[in-house]
C-alpha cells in the first residue's frame, strides 16, 4: 500500500502544478519573481501600486519589491519631459520643424527637402510610405487604401491640384495634418517624412 500512497502524492503534486500555466487573465506562476521585475525604470513596465510584491520586499524604503514608478514625476511616469525652452537636434543636426500649422502656404513656398534624392532614399521612402500612408492613400496614391475607402475624403495624388503641390506642402501636410488627415509629426521622424516626400512626388507623376 506504500506504493499507492507515493503514487497518490505524485498525483497531487502534478495536479497542483497544473494551475501554474498562463491562461486568459492569469499570467501564471513566476519562478524567482525578483529576477523578473526590473529594479531600474523600464519602458512599458510601470507598476504604480506601492505595495506590489511587498511579501518578498527587501527594499529599504519599505515599498513593495515590484513598485517601480518615479515618485518625482507627475503621475509617477518614468520618462522626464524635456526641459522647458530647450530643443532637440537629431543625429543629422535637424532642428524641430517649427512652422505653424496654419502657415501651409509659407511651407509650400520656402521649406525645401534637406536630403538629396538617391535610390536608397527612394526605396526607403517607398517602404515608409507603405507603413504609414498606404492604408489610407493606397499603394499607388489613389486614395483606395482599405482604411481610406471607409474614412472618406482621401484624394488622388496624380490629378488636379494635388498633383502640383510642392515638397514643402507635402512635408507640412504629413507633419501637421490637413483637412481630415491627422498630424503624423509625432509618429515619423523628420528625416523619414522627407524620405516619404520623395515617394509621394514619384506617385504625383504617375
Amino acid at each position: 500500500m506504500l506504493k499507492i500512497k507515493y503514487i497518490f502524492l505524485v498525483g497531487l503534486f502534478s495536479a497542483a502544478l497544473i494551475g501554474c500555466d498562463a491562461k486568459g487573465e492569469d499570467p501564471g506562476t513566476e519562478y524567482a519573481p525578483q529576477m523578473y521585475h526590473s529594479v531600474a525604470y523600464e519602458p512599458l513596465t510601470q507598476i504604480t501600486d506601492q505595495s506590489a510584491g511587498s511579501w518578498l520586499s527587501s527594499r529599504e524604503d519599505g515599498k513593495g519589491e515590484f513598485f517601480n514608478s518615479n515618485v518625482n514625476n507627475p503621475g509617477g511616469i518614468n520618462m522626464r519631459e524635456p526641459v522647458a525652452n530647450t530643443v532637440r537636434r537629431d543625429a543629422k543636426g535637424m532642428l524641430p520643424y517649427r512652422v505653424h500649422k496654419d502657415s501651409i502656404d509659407y511651407a509650400a513656398e520656402f521649406i525645401k527637402n534637406p536630403l538629396e534624392s538617391t535610390d536608397e532614399y527612394l526605396t526607403e521612402g517607398k517602404r515608409l510610405y507603405q507603413n504609414f500612408c498606404s492604408s489610407c492613400h493606397g499603394e499607388k496614391g489613389d486614395g483606395q487604401g482599405k482604411v481610406g475607402v471607409v474614412y472618406k475624403g482621401v484624394p488622388k495624388y496624380n490629378t488636379g491640384r494635388i498633383s502640383k503641390v510642392s515638397e514643402g506642402h507635402i512635408f507640412h501636410t504629413i507633419f501637421h495634418g490637413k483637412g481630415r488627415m491627422g498630424a503624423h509629426g509625432s509618429q515619423i521622424s523628420q528625416e523619414d517624412i522627407w524620405k516619404i516626400v520623395f515617394h509621394v512626388q514619384e506617385l504625383q507623376k504617375q
Binding site: G24, G28, E30, Y36, I77, D142, K146, V150, I162
Partner: protein
C-alpha cells in the same frame, strides 16, 4: 456454420449503412454549396444596368474620385455635404454648375440655398475649379449614377461604412463551404444514428441467440459461438489488467507533472482584458494597417511602443465617435491621463531583448514571434519566450547580410571556414553575455 455467416453478414450491413449515410450527408452538403454559388451568380447578373452612358459616368467617376472625394461622399457628410441626388436640391442646374466652379461667387450673389449651406458648414470655403461644361456634366452624371447605385447595394448589406465595421464580421465568414456549426450538428446526428444502429443490431443478436437456443439439433461448435459471453469481473481482476492500469496512471501523472513544471514562469497564452477593447483583428487584419503605423519605435528602439492616444485620434477623431470604447480614448486625451494597457509580453529582467536589432537589422517579421496578430481579437502571448526558444531560432536563422557592409569581412572569414551559410550562432549569437549581463 450458417450462423457464423449470419453474424458476419450483420456486421457488414452495419458498415454499408454507415457508408451510405456518410455519402448522402456529403452529397447534400455539395448540393447546398452549388445552390449558394448559383444564387450569387444570378445576383451579379441583375445588378448591371444600362440607363447611363458608361463612358461619361467613368469620366465623371475619375474626376470625382480624384478631386471631390477629398471633401464629399455620395451617401454621407464628410467635410462638405453628402451629394446624393444633389441635382434635386437645386432648382437651377446652371447655378449648381456655377457653384462647383466658383462657390464664393454664387454665395456672394445672395443665392438663398447656397448661403444657407455656407452657414451650415461653418463657412468652410469650397475651392474653385476650372472644369469645362463636358466635365461638369460627367461629374453630375456620375453623382446621379452613384446615387441610384448605392441604394441597391446598401439594402444588400455592403457593410462598408465604418460604423458597421465591427459588427459586420458574422455575415462574412459563412461563404467558404459549410459553416462549422452545421458540421458539428451533422456529426452529432451521425453519432446518434450509429448508436441506434448498434442498439438495434445488439437486439437482433440477442433475439437470434435466444431463438437459436430454443432450437434443437445445433452442433456443439455453433453452440459455443452462441453462448459466448464477455466476463467483465474476471477480466478486471486479472493481474495483467491491474498492472496496465497502474502503468498508464503513473505515465500520465508523470507526463502532466513534467509538462506543468515547464509552464512555471512562462506566460505563453496569457490574454488579459485590456482597458479598451482594441481589436487587432479589425485594425491589422481587416483594414491591413501596418504594425509600424502605431508601434512606431519598433524599428528604432529596444521596445516596440504602445501608441499614445494621438495616434488613435488620427482616425478616431472621425470614425466611430459614438462608440463607448472610443469615448475612453477621448476621456484619456481630455484628462491627460495615459491609458494603462496591460503588458502581455514580460521578458524577465535577467534577459536583454532589442526590437530594433531583430526587426531592422535581422529583418524579422512581427508575426515570427507574435503569431498571427491579424487574427487576434484579444492579443495573447504566442511564443513561449524561453531561452530554448531564443537559442533554437539563433541556431537556425541565417544572418541577413545583404546590403550591409558591416558583415562583409565576417562573411569572408566564414566562407574560408566552410561553405555553410552564416547563422546567428556563428557571429556570437549564443554568447551568454549577448543577452545576460
Amino acid at each position: 456454420m450458417s450462423l457464423k455467416r449470419l453474424f458476419i453478414g450483420l456486421i457488414r450491413i452495419q458498415l454499408v449503412c454507415c457508408f451510405l449515410f456518410l455519402s448522402s450527408v456529403q452529397g447534400s452538403m455539395l448540393y447546398a454549396q452549388d445552390a449558394e454559388e448559383q444564387e450569387e451568380e444570378s445576383a451579379e447578373a441583375e445588378s448591371s444596368d444600362s440607363d447611363y452612358d458608361e463612358a461619361v459616368v467613368n469620366a465623371g467617376r475619375s474626376i470625382f474620385e480624384g478631386e471631390c472625394t477629398v471633401c464629399h461622399a455620395i451617401n454621407e457628410k464628410v467635410i462638405g455635404p453628402a451629394l446624393k441626388n444633389v441635382e434635386s436640391r437645386w432648382d437651377d442646374r446652371d447655378l449648381l454648375k456655377q457653384f462647383i466652379l466658383n462657390s464664393q461667387k454664387v454665395i456672394q450673389s445672395g443665392h438663398e440655398y447656397s448661403v444657407k449651406l455656407y452657414e451650415q458648414y461653418d463657412r468652410t470655403v469650397m475651392p474653385s475649379f476650372d472644369y469645362n461644361d463636358e466635365e461638369l456634366e460627367s461629374i453630375l452624371a456620375y453623382i446621379d449614377y452613384a446615387s441610384n447605385q448605392k441604394e441597391q447595394t446598401a439594402s444588400s448589406g455592403g457593410g462598408a461604412s465604418a460604423s458597421e465595421g465591427g459588427g459586420g464580421e458574422g455575415g462574412g465568414g459563412s461563404t467558404a463551404g459549410v459553416p462549422s456549426e452545421y458540421l458539428t450538428i451533422i456529426l452529432v446526428g451521425l453519432i446518434i444514428v450509429l448508436i441506434l444502429i448498434l442498439v438495434v443490431l445488439l437486439l437482433i443478436i440477442s433475439v437470434l441467440g435466444k431463438f437459436l437456443n430454443n432450437q434443437d439439433g445445433i452442433e456443439s461448435e455453433d453452440k459455443e459461438v452462441i453462448d459466448q459471453r464477455f466476463n467483465i469481473g474476471s477480466f478486471v481482476q486479472s493481474r495483467a489488467f491491474i498492472s496496465l492500469v497502474i502503468f498508464l496512471f503513473v505515465a500520465i501523472v508523470t507526463k502532466t507533472g513534467i509538462d506543468a513544471l515547464y509552464t512555471v514562469g512562462i506566460q505563453q497564452g496569457y490574454a488579459p482584458t485590456q482597458p479598451i477593447a482594441f481589436s487587432h483583428k479589425l485594425h491589422a487584419g481587416e483594414y491591413e494597417i501596418e504594425c509600424q503605423y502605431c508601434h512606431t519605435s519598433v524599428e528604432k528602439s529596444k521596445s516596440a511602443n504602445i501608441p499614445s492616444a494621438n495616434i488613435c485620434m488620427n482616425c478616431h477623431s472621425e470614425i466611430k465617435t459614438d462608440s463607448p470604447e472610443i469615448q475612453k480614448i477621448y476621456a484619456a486625451v481630455e484628462n491627460e491621463q495615459p491609458i494603462e494597457w496591460v503588458r502581455i509580453h514580460n521578458l524577465p529582467d535577467l534577459a536583454y531583448f532589442n526590437h530594433a536589432q531583430h526587426v531592422t537589422v535581422g529583418g524579422l517579421e512581427c508575426e515570427t514571434c507574435h503569431g498571427d496578430i491579424a487574427e487576434m481579437e484579444v492579443v495573447y502571448q504566442y511564443s513561449s519566450l524561453t531561452m530554448g526558444w531564443c537559442i533554437e531560432c539563433h541556431q537556425e536563422s541565417e544572418v541577413n547580410t545583404k546590403d550591409n557592409a558591416y558583415y562583409d569581412k565576417l562573411v569572408e572569414f566564414h566562407k574560408k571556414k566552410g561553405g555553410e551559410p552564416m547563422k546567428v550562432t556563428d557571429i556570437g549569437g549564443l554568447e551568454c553575455s549577448k543577452c545576460h549581463y
